[in-house]
């Protein structure tokens, strides 16, 4: 995916851009930045959910507007952060909905291949045992896994996730991290995500882009971007960075 002069100024309000961004096939890009920096807006633009007020977006060299909504959904899947409180579906039904862009027509019935894709998505996210449970009865972590499974059932080359670990406990955060690392590392899935959790971004991404006030402030490998100086500049807060393993671990000093 590539963005040139990408701008989102609805009603003249400067929310995002203009900015240029390339997402290469097979990479995992994490967007970080303070609240209101435009991370979600950038993700929604990349996922084709809103149209830029200026600039161009292209997927594999083709401008976004050449794709129908359904054709685009077969290429880019999106897991939003905010979802309705009540969704009267079972996990299996939710995941089957992910097959919509692959149906023979908008009104066609799902086929064997669709049910197989659902089974694969449930297996990848390890939630087969939850398949027939109502979504509304699940814990936050299980629900997140179900929504990721639905996006995986879309079988798209690109997966876009907005704050995939928000509201999750440490165990579930690690599971999501492991899942994305596997998808990206073993299956070669292109992943773009936004996260407030810098350690999560550091652990899964091979590239980190920092957004400030709707523009790109920095873009590079986690070790280059997640430095105490840069983070202090981004968030106005003191950080320590530990380089124990291959990837930096950030520590926010909360006490004054």
């Amino acid at each position: 995916m590539s963005a040139r002069g990408l701008t989102w100024h609805p009603g003249g309000k400067r929310v995002l851009g203009p900015l240029d961004l390339e997402v290469h096939a097979g990479e995992c890009l994490a967007l970080v930045g303070p609240n209101g920096a435009g991370k979600t807006t950038l993700l929604r633009l990349l996922a084709g959910l809103i149209e830029p007020t200026a600039g161009t977006l292209a997927f594999a060299g083709e401008p976004y507007r050449r794709f129908s909504r359904r054709a685009f959904a077969a290429r880019v899947a999106y897991v939003p952060q905010i979802r309705p409180a009540r969704v009267p579906l079972s996990v299996r039904e939710l995941v089957l909905h992910g097959r919509y862009p692959h149906l023979a027509g908008p009104a066609a019935a799902p086929r064997e291949a669709d049910f197989e894709a659902v089974a694969r998505a449930l297996a990848t996210t390890a939630i087969e045992h939850l398949a027939d449970r109502p979504l509304d009865e699940l814990s936050g972590g299980e629900r997140q896994a179900a929504y990721i499974a639905a996006a995986l059932a879309q079988e798209t080359p690109v997966l876009v996730l907005d704050e995939p670990t928000t509201f999750l406990d440490a165990g579930h955060q690690r599971e999501v991290c492991g899942l994305l690392t596997r998808l990206h590392g073993e299956a070669g899935q292109t992943v773009v995500l936004a996260s407030h959790d810098l350690n999560f971004a550091s652990a899964v991404a091979d590239r980190v882009a920092a957004l400030v006030c709707g523009t790109l402030a920095a873009d590079g490998p986690p070790a280059e971007i997640l430095t105490p100086e840069r983070l202090a500049g981004l968030f106005g807060a003191p950080f320590e960075v530990v380089h124990g393993g291959a990837r930096p671990v950030t520590l926010l000093r909360l006490a004054p």
């Binding site: 909504r69 579906l89 908008p106 639905a150």
Partner: protein
């Protein structure tokens, strides 16, 4: 992901069985509405002869029963479409002012004695429905999606305005015409012959086909507008198609039966509790159950105060008002 300690399966609904029962109920309602009435019918004479009994059966009761089944089905499926599109149990053509707009269009056509009979009134009702839909939906659109509270408030505002305008037209019409408008506004299915049935049939079929063709999209909306769009639903197109289709069908319906309230509110809710949330079962369920509800309501309207006949709209509104309050009350508590 880790297993949840309690692994309970959801209660199984049997939509196939419910739909079969509704199909049977539809036939029973057709038979009951045709055979029963304020006047007892000699069935033998009606079937063999061509006297008064035959006229009552073939020219009055049967077309009326068929019209009730059709109108009820269209009302319920329109309500279902609005509730699914706006993800709100209180949305239906009447609460959103669409039926009010259709009624205003039809009343203007009646008062102005527009030529073309049913077609003239139908076109006026359709234009009224479309204008009301455009106003209500236009007001409640935002970049974040549809604001449901604004949608319902705009619906109330449009309904109140159309009622006021209808009263205004009535006030300045001659007494005969005023009586005709008042009687029509109460909603009714008193027809002679099959003209109205044949008029409504293509609209009803068209709406059913349209909603059937968009069942996946309407199902996908259960997960929210953002997720549905991310799965490939073109929301603007879906809104345009469904709102246009419902406005057409409601316009056509109001032109023959007047405004009959609350069927579109009660029936989808009841059917949902029987068959679940899948449009594949909900749509046929609503078409059948809406018809049954209205045919039986009309039977009640014809017989409760016999020989006086009540307008069926009064009966459905009498049932619908308390139901609407109950829905609001349970939602507040939920």
């Amino acid at each position: 992901m880790r297993a949840h300690p309690q692994s309970r399966r959801p209660a199984r609904k049997r939509p196939g069985l419910v739909l079969a029962a509704l199909g049977l109920g539809w036939l029973v309602a057709l038979a009951a509405a045709t055979l029963l009435g304020s006047q007892s019918l000699d069935l033998g004479a009606a079937l063999t002869g061509d006297g008064k009994a035959a006229t009552i059966l073939w020219q009055l009761r049967l077309p009326r029963a068929l019209l009730a089944l059709l109108v009820g089905g269209v009302l319920a499926s329109s309500g279902l479409a609005f509730q699914s599109l706006f993800r709100n149990a209180l949305a239906e053509p009447y609460t959103l002012g669409v039926a009010g707009g259709a009624a205003l269009g039809a009343v203007l056509a009646l008062a102005a004695e527009v030529p073309g009979g049913l077609l003239g009134v139908g076109i006026a009702a359709f234009l009224g429905a479309l204008a009301a839909t455009a106003i209500v939906v236009g007001l409640s659109f935002s970049r974040q999606g549809t604001e449901i509270s604004t949608l319902l408030l705009a619906g109330v505002a449009v309904s109140v305005s159309t009622t006021a305008l209808i009263l205004f037209v009535q006030y300045f019409s001659d007494p005969n015409r005023t009586f005709q408008i008042v009687r029509w506004m109460m909603g009714g299915l008193a027809v002679v012959g099959y003209r109205e049935v044949l008029w409504l049939l293509p609209w009803a079929l068209g709406l059913a086909l349209l909603l059937g063709a968009h069942r996946w999209e309407l199902n996908l909306l259960l997960t929210g507008e953002e997720t549905a769009a991310a799965r490939g639903v073109d929301l603007s197109r879906l809104r345009l198609v469904v709102l246009g289709g419902v406005s057409l069908a409601v316009g056509a319906l109001v032109a023959v039966a007047g405004p009959i309230g609350f069927v579109g509110l009660i029936v989808p809710h009841a059917v949902r509790s029987l068959v679940g949330h899948d449009q594949r079962h909900l749509l046929p369920g609503c078409l059948l159950a809406g018809g049954i509800f209205l045919a039986l309501s009309d039977l009640g309207a014809r017989t409760v105060a016999s020989p006086t006949e009540l307008p069926v709209g009064i009966l459905t509104a009498a049932a619908g008002g308390p139901f609407f309050l109950w829905l609001l009350f349970t939602r507040r508590r939920g």
